[in-house]
Symmetry: C2
Subunit: 199 residues, 2 copies
Amino acid sequence: MHTSQIGRPRGFDAEAALEKAMMVFWAQGYEGASLTDLTEAMGISRKSLYAAYGNKEDLFRKALQRYAEGPGAYVTEALQAPTAREVAMAFLAGSARANTLPGLPAGCLGVQGALAAGETGRVARDVLAEWRAHGQELLRDRFRQAVEAGDLPAGADPEKIARYVMTIANGVAVQAAGGATCEDLQQVADAALQNWPPA
Amino acid sequence: MHTSQIGRPRGFDAEAALEKAMMVFWAQGYEGASLTDLTEAMGISRKSLYAAYGNKEDLFRKALQRYAEGPGAYVTEALQAPTAREVAMAFLAGSARANTLPGLPAGCLGVQGALAAGETGRVARDVLAEWRAHGQELLRDRFRQAVEAGDLPAGADPEKIARYVMTIANGVAVQAAGGATCEDLQQVADAALQNWPPA
DNA sequence: CGCATTCAACACCGATCGGTGAAGAAATTT
DNA sequence: AAATTTCTTCACCGATCGGTGTTGAATGCG
């Protein structure tokens, strides 16, 4: 990668095109998104796509990264809340909101992008599973820290609490894909955190 | 359809073959399961498949029905528990178990079969969404009945409670697809039902 | 200018997709 | 046994899959 550009610069906004690709993967899943679907949505040719992003798997990885920094940014934001309970509340509220954003696909790219897949989608499926596991580890580490700070009872199990909260978020994603509203899902989030920490 | 058979009878067990097809759809999703994958697992030819089950969509519908009567039978069983709380407990315990059955694909066919899909998988996706919605309606009706029987408080919202319980089950399915164990998920179920009914 | 690089567009690649047509064997009827 | 029907096997269909090679114009650099 050179700092000084040589040759004709690309004639499209790489970030904007990636955003379009993200939405196609989000709505149709990795295997359900064909190169034709992608290039038409991104407004570029196949050649430009491969030159700018690599192959389909690479594009999917970059789209997921973009998702994490965009609609999925509520995760890192929630982790910075002052107390463990506020972390959980912000995480689930953000989940309810991000999974039902108007004008964007319903649900979560990290869940419906490739939960089950054939041979061609196996890499994408594993990438997403690892991504979800990573998010759960971030929650667990945050709850560990809360135990040490006395914010959670000494006997609390951070891994178990993280799994509990993440399971709700996963369920919220499936519900959103089925048409549940943000209010519906916020009610679920409230109910799930009614007793805290979960036994 | 005639009662008396005419001509050569089929040379394979249609129920056993359907079970195999169910497992392929379960593990690979609708779009990820090719006809070659299906026929190889079922041990029959393409021609036999089309003669016996129709097309791929029809086969998927029959596989889902088979799933509901087999690994998914815990749903109807749970609905028969004597109290609303026992219904919810049996439903989530069954979910934890059915999503982690040894020797079978992890997760739930109704969730990972086609959460997001391209054009070719749109029908399958809608079939599954309707299937999940139907299960949620069964829960809602059971909880309505519990309110009338005084088993749930008069102010309880059956629809909200059903959505809460189903959201946990959906999350359990995603967690199972990511490798969570039955014990992990049973802990989540216990925590989710710690306060009942959910506020 | 001239070199280098990327642009857009399009045909094309082998492979695979879901789905069928043809042909002969096999089993049940009368 | 003859007739009928469905079986199985295999090749094949057009379409689409992800990915590439080519071409000629456009735009940056030195």
